[in-house]
């Protein structure tokens, strides 16, 4: 059962003169008996199998960046996920097979042109699509680990607390709806006005339903009301001292008005919010769009950097972002995760169903702002604090640890930006040279 390829791959990497931080991580991971672990460049990847461990066990507290640490936890939890989608993981993995990965809408031009009114309607009313997006969103929320009890900042266990969640590329609001069901308040951004219109319609509909329900039941509280009041996440209304706006009657809890709000915006131009605004961010099936240039003045890397640096800023200290995307190639995955790492995000990529070409899902799971103030500059720090964080800016202090290929590429990129004459990147760049002694 124990699969050692991950480890050997990893130690191989270390052999190629990686930072001590990575070594530390490797030893951390090698304590595992069952895992699939590898890297894109310096970015840790955790692959989950249907028979694999629960993520709670995998991403244990404090060990971000693919921090798998304790065996016992892992073995006690044979299934991928505890609550949500995976009760029939094997069957769902086969039904999830026909995602749009075979066709690449990203290649057809600008997202707002692809997701026009017709496509938006089609997208939103395809029950297959709805099912897939729902499953992915459930998983993303699980990875955010703020699901009410025990939020990021460790607020009281047992007491649900909604979070303010940014949904980037919210589309027709399928992902937002799931956030809503989890009780969160969300704000969705999308570049396609037609997708947003569909989302808007749904919210309008919910609003009307909620309004109608509150009218019908304006007469007084009855058994049903009590039933709703039993929900432990709705304390506010249980407070008898709360002023009632509805002529002295209790307001109905269900159906409730939507908790989302919408914004027409292109994430590639940087998120337009004040710093430290959101408790979390999700993005479902949208990020890969930034890897393509749809007009002559769009540069993928620039747009990704704008997106990530603004995301870093608008997230609260220690808040997480889980961004599910469909990389066309490994290069895209590397590009995305390196941009995330460069602006300071710690984290890695979680891959579900790694062995299925079609059901495979990549989740960039990152945590921002953790140690902005008190962190040591990872470029200067030796060892621990740099491990698994900003790996690509790994320290090169120790003897025998050379300049990594990533480091060289980055340096060359910087030089180029400064307008300096820099040699082309080739397959020889940063290649291992024979040692001199």
């Amino acid at each position: 059962m124990s699969d050692l390829t991950g480890i050997s791959r990893d130690s191989e990497l270390n052999g190629k003169a990686h930072s001590s931080g990575c070594q530390e991580q490797a030893s951390d991971f090698s304590s595992l008996s069952m895992k699939n672990f590898s890297r894109y460049g310096n970015i840790p990847i955790v692959e989950t199998l249907e028979s694999d461990i629960s993520l709670d066990a995998k991403m244990t507290a404090g060990r971000w960046g693919g921090g798998i640490s304790r065996n016992d936890e892992i073995n006690s939890n044979p299934r991928r996920s505890s609550s949500s989608s995976s009760s029939s993981s094997s069957s769902s993995s086969t039904t999830t097979t026909t995602t749009k990965r075979m066709s690449r809408p990203e290649l057809t031009g600008h997202a707002s042109l692809f997701y026009d009114a017709r496509e938006a309607k089609k997208y939103d009313s395809s029950s297959r699509m709805v099912g897939i997006q729902r499953e992915i969103t459930e998983r993303a929320i699980e990875l955010l680990k703020l699901d009410g009890r025990g939020t990021v900042d460790g607020h009281g266990r047992g007491s649900f607390r909604p979070s303010l969640v940014l949904d980037v590329g919210c589309g027709s609001g399928l992902s937002g709806q799931v956030l809503e069901e989890h009780g969160h308040v969300w704000l969705g951004c999308d570049v396609s006005r037609d997708m947003l219109n569909v989302a808007n319609e749904r919210m309008e509909h919910k609003r009307e339903e909620a309004a109608a329900a509150s009218h019908d039941n304006g007469g007084g509280s009855d058994d049903e009301d009590d039933e709703f009041d039993d929900d432990d996440d709705q304390d506010a209304d249980d407070d008898p001292s709360m002023p009632d706006e509805n002529n002295g009657t209790r307001r109905r809890r269900r159906p409730s008005p939507p908790t989302g709000d919408l914004l027409h915006h292109d994430m590639g131009t940087g998120l337009p919010f004040r710093p430290a605004t959101f408790d979390a961010c999700i993005s479902i099936s949208a990020l890969q769009w930034l890897c393509y240039s749809n007009t002559r003045d769009q540069f993928p890397k620039k747009r990704l950097m704008r997106f990530f640096s603004s995301l870093y800023v608008v997230l609260r200290r220690g808040a997480r972002a889980v961004l599910q995307f469909y990389p066309e190639t490994a290069e895209h995955a590397i590009l995305i995760s390196e941009c995330a790492a460069r602006v300071g995000f710690a984290g890695g990529i979680v891959v579900d169903y790694p062995n299925s070409t079609k059901a495979k899902k990549h989740y960039l799971t990152t945590k921002g702002g953790v140690c902005v103030a008190d962190d040591v500059d990872p470029r200067r720090a030796g060892g621990k604090s740099a491990g698994g964080k900003r790996g690509e800016k790994a320290p090169r202090k120790r003897k025998g640890v050379g300049k990594t290929k990533e480091w060289i590429l980055h340096k060359k990129e910087t030089q180029r930006k400064k307008g300096k004459d820099t040699r082309m990147d080739t397959k020889y760049t940063g290649r291992k040279r024979p040692t001199r002694f």
Partner: protein, 132 residues
């Protein structure tokens, strides 16, 4: 667009310093009612820019039915870890943050004057590449 969203929104068009708060030009607003989540609201208050909210309410207030009252100049004890607000204040804060929507109008960048149209409740914050 809710005033909660407005409170977090800022313009990042080229040439802005703060781009905050966006000036609201109202054409139509909508008011509705949603359940108050006291805990959530209390958690939110420290993040809300109160003076921006207050001026937003002043812009939107007259268009609402019934008109929104002005918010108190300062919140009783919004500073500190646990803001202790009385229920009346909580309910008015909830109302202005969650239940009042700008449906049609403009958001104007205070630094550059760039106008962002709001249609059908959705602000258009799209920037052209040469505006960044």
């Amino acid at each position: 667009m809710r005033l909660l969203t407005h409170n977090f929104l800022r313009s990042n068009v080229k040439g802005t310093e703060n781009g905050y708060p966006l000036i609201i030009e109202v054409t139509t607003v909508r008011c509705e009612e949603s359940p108050v989540d006291k805990e959530f609201l209390l958690g939110l208050i420290p993040k809300v820019d109160y003076s921006a909210l207050r001026s937003a309410v002043r812009h939107m207030g007259p268009h609402c039915d019934p008109p929104l009252p002005d918010l108190p100049e300062v919140l009783p004890s919004a500073v500190g870890d646990v803001p202790s607000l009385d229920d009346a204040t909580i309910s008015i804060l909830h109302r202005v943050l969650f239940d009042v929507y700008l449906v049609e109008g403009y958001l104007v960048c205070p630094d550059t004057g760039r106008k962002f149209p709001v249609k059908d409740g959705i602000p258009n914050m799209i920037l052209h590449e040469d505006e960044i």
